[in-house]
Subunit: 328 residues, 2 copies
């Protein structure tokens, strides 16, 4: 067995913790260091894993094969990745859709300068869902792609509820509307409004004495977040929230319906579906696989920014080419 | 718009005909010639498309960008692809699982000699299903993959019935057992016997005066093909077969269930599902997308044998990198 791939993790939230657990289960990777904004002493880890301040990352130059960037897309990644892409191979889950082309360009320049690879926008959406939209569109160009999300917890929507006066805590579930999914699966190519595709279910812990009907009203009419959806609001106790709603399930479907045949007489339906008990652990498992690809492709001389679209599936596997050919 | 990719099709069965229809719907490809074992005059085509004997293929050297090899895996591809891989970029749907590693090696040598690319084993299984097994196994290495096929017509099983004495025609459907699929989807990781995964439904047109119970008995006890399955046999008229069973639907699911978390406490389910009205038209649509990849990758200097595992998803698309980044 050759030397293990030396990994760093930058950021120690849900994603970083998931990455740590996932690396421990691989045979070809070794977690060397966790970079954090917190006090490094407070990081739970085995003794052989270092913990450092993010500012000290450059001291690790040439000691790490890939850094898995686990910060947020809003404030961390747009600063950190361009800063470090010249010195390290990186993998990140940047997901601010509108900013991806610009981010790609910035990171591409830095990574090429340093002869490194930066794989951006890794995860399931963007990521595995995007790959499936692309495969669908490439194979059946005469077609439509539909994406449904859920059932799952939306962090952004939960946060939006928490900002309302009188709300102590909240959890929001995005739920695809089964009738719509079925119509799509049957190849009916329906035109679906926002309201017809998903509904929203909110579990809210109110402060003592809060005005419940006002909270409910504020949620249901919140523009962008809830106003365009059928939204249910349930008030629950803090205890019930802890018992039933601390998990982070998610999932969804990408359904591509294409037509083939001279007159488009044959419907062909491709569906890619996820049902996840833990959204962050799944995302970090994907990051790990792409970290492996970043390392191997960079070893072969590839550099610059890449997306999951650019990575051949074979580069993600721990297995040898010989073993993989047998999977065909 | 740059020059269109110049395509040849070799073999004019269901797959070749599907490829012809699919190419007509692309914007970036042009079908130049169909190579056939039949009388070229009999090939239905527009006037601008040539038809030639397979033996004359080498005359087209340097006039074609990619040839889509649409012959059978048993007798055609193992001879034709090694013969032409030095002179042409090729794409094929070789699917004799056990022989793939050897075939890969033979084709690899020839293609490298000529500086060409040969993408082998393109289709949905092997092909898209294999890719999804690999993605699943790479992302969630602590997991199991299940493959279910159907509901769909199996050509091999239909042929096996037709060889029985007293059978005039027959159609066989492979049907996944829904209870098994549901168990897998729920993450129960069941151990499933052959009989528990699929059943077989046969529609048989008997010759006049044939011994029906003997035919039924012969089908149900046929080793490898039917003996290990629950098999239903229905006798029908030739007319009914023509009315209801001339289509070539197929499909199936690849379901990968993995575990994440310190103690594997979180189940993560990935499902890739196909529901196809026309099996050969779907396969040829995939071949077309990989023909595009073969051309572009060869233009960039890549050569030798490849499988769908080796091809980055972005190479399959008609769209520009800029447009594709917006799909993230």
């Amino acid at each position: 067995m050759s030397k293990k791939i030396q990994i760093g993790i930058c950021g120690y939230g849900n994603l970083g913790k998931g990455a740590q657990k996932a690396i421990a289960k691989t045979r070809d990777m070794e977690l060397k260091v966790i970079f954090t904004r917190r006090n490094p002493e407070e990081i739970e880890r085995e003794a052989k894993i270092s913990a450092c301040k993010i500012e000290d990352m450059t001291k690790w130059k040439d000691k790490l094969d890939v850094i898995i960037m686990c910060g947020g897309s809003a404030k961390d990644l747009p600063i950190q990745v361009p800063m470090f892409a010249k010195e390290f191979n990186t993998v990140d889950s940047f997901d601010t859709h509108a900013d991806i082309p610009e981010y790609f360009k910035t990171v591409d320049e830095k990574a090429k300068e340093g002869g490194k690879i930066a794989i951006i926008s890794v995860g399931w959406d963007p990521g595995m869902f995007s790959i499936n939209r692309l495969y669908g569109d490439s194979i059946l160009p005469n077609g439509h792609t539909y994406t449904f999300w859920g059932k799952g917890v939306s962090q952004g929507h939960s946060d939006a509820i928490r900002r309302i006066n009188g709300v102590k805590d909240a959890r929001q579930y995005t739920i695809p509307i089964e009738e719509a999914v079925e119509k799509v699966r049957k190849g009916e190519n329906p035109n679906l409004s926002t309201r017809e595709k998903h509904k929203r279910e909110c579990y809210v812990v109110p402060e003592e004495g809060a005005n419940l009907s006002q909270i409910e009203q504020e949620i249901k009419t919140m523009p962008k977040y809830f106003a365009d959806y059928d939204t249910e609001v349930h008030f629950i106790t803090e205890e019930e929230l802890k018992q039933k709603h601390l998990g982070m399930p998610h999932g969804g479907s990408v359904i591509h319906i294409g037509e083939t045949g001279e007159k488009g007489e044959h419907k062909q339906v491709i569906e890619y579906k996820l049902a996840l008990d833990s959204n962050p652990e799944f995302t970090s498992s994907i990051l790990i696989a792409y970290a492996r690809a970043a390392y191997h492709l960079n070893q072969k001389g590839e550099k610059g920014a890449k997306t999951p679209f650019h990575i051949p599936p074979i580069a993600l596997s721990e297995k040898s080419e010989e073993e993989i050919l047998k999977m065909l």
